[in-house]
Symmetry: C2
Subunit: 216 residues, 2 copies
């Protein structure tokens, strides 16, 4: 294991999917080779950062030339584990949960919703896009049987921590959370929050300075 000696910074992992996205787009546009400078321009990142990030995982480029787009995107997909299908479950099949099940953006990227759970007995049994809604009681068994590694949480905020804790006890190690809370999980479990309000609130600080100046 030659490259597992150096731990790879988490920030690097966070940037890789961005690289994959832009490289995929370049590939579709027919670009065969790209330099770290051009890629950096597209991503508003310095060329040095791109080169260093990539160097954690191998030597993918050629001096004087750049990176072969197809090759690089393939290598990065493999590094990230995007070269396989990931089964997911959605929990909370309300308005948002249904939208998630119907969202056509997941499947092409290898994320497949194979199970759906809701606490409301009236929902159980209904079908959306080949997925039948199951009761919460069936969750643990289904997660095991269907090899579900990723859960998507779309329950109301007051229920979210409880649901997340239950998912953790079912062995789920990755959670995409849409509820507006700060979930607590053991450190071997990853959570990403989708939270547009939080995102807006991180921008107003800068707008405020501008607005205050204008007013004074």
């Amino acid at each position: 294991m030659p490259d597992s000696i150096h731990a790879i910074p988490e920030v690097v992992i966070l940037r890789l999917p961005l690289y994959v996205r832009v490289l995929t787009q370049l590939k579709d546009e027919g670009t065969e080779v790209i330099s770290s400078r051009e890629l950096g321009d597209r991503l508003s990142v310095t060329p040095a950062q791109i080169r260093k990030d990539l160097s954690y995982f191998g030597r993918f480029g050629k001096q004087g030339r750049g990176y072969n787009v197809s090759y690089l995107v393939g290598e990065l997909r493999q590094v990230l584990g995007l070269d396989r299908q990931w089964n997911t479950a959605v929990i909370g099949i309300g308005r948002l949960g249904r939208a998630i099940i119907n969202y056509p953006g997941f499947a092409p990227e290898g994320f497949k919703v194979v199970a759906a759970f809701d606490a409301d007995p009236a929902q159980v049994g209904r079908q959306f896009e080949d997925v039948a809604i199951q009761s919460i009681g069936e969750m643990q068994q289904t997660i095991r049987e269907r090899n579900i590694a990723i859960a998507i949480v779309a329950v109301p905020a007051p229920q979210a921590q409880r649901v997340i804790s239950e998912l953790v006890s079912c062995g789920v190690k990755a959670i995409l959370n849409y509820a507006p809370i700060a979930p607590q999980v053991p450190e071997d479990v990853r959570v990403r929050n989708i939270d547009p309000v939080l995102a807006l609130q991180t921008m107003t600080y800068h707008l405020k300075v501008r607005q205050d100046e204008a007013g004074s």
Copy 2:
């Protein structure tokens, strides 16, 4: 300007809304005082980090006691500019755009959708939740007149960069982007991307290691 000498790290600004969220919840639960340790436990952040973050903006706590929750949340809201209403516009009134206009989570936090734009003439004039859809041609004027500082982009990916550039030329300085692209904007414009696929792709790296180990 006593505290504008030291620039405030962007990471700190990114954490403040989280603090606000948890503090608001504590306030609703009736907690009057909280220590940095307890707050840190709730957020999976070290107490030292919380104290340091807060110290950029003032001395809000009392030794031996902690922070008064109501007071602190009020101060932080003021720091972030959450003590006022922010007018926003949604661009792209398809399935997602309509869901955003109907989303009840924005208004209580002071973000009000006051305008909606779509390129499709068939959409123009239709009404959602007191917001009438306008044509793209009216965008610049409406943004000025209605003092819109924040735009929410929900157009298809191929159109997104063009729409974002146009918003920038209308003077918008903050953009919440839902399209799966890496937008390019001048450095005085802030963009936050809502991108569940990217979020999932940052987690599979760690799952992969686990899965590979299990298989070997």
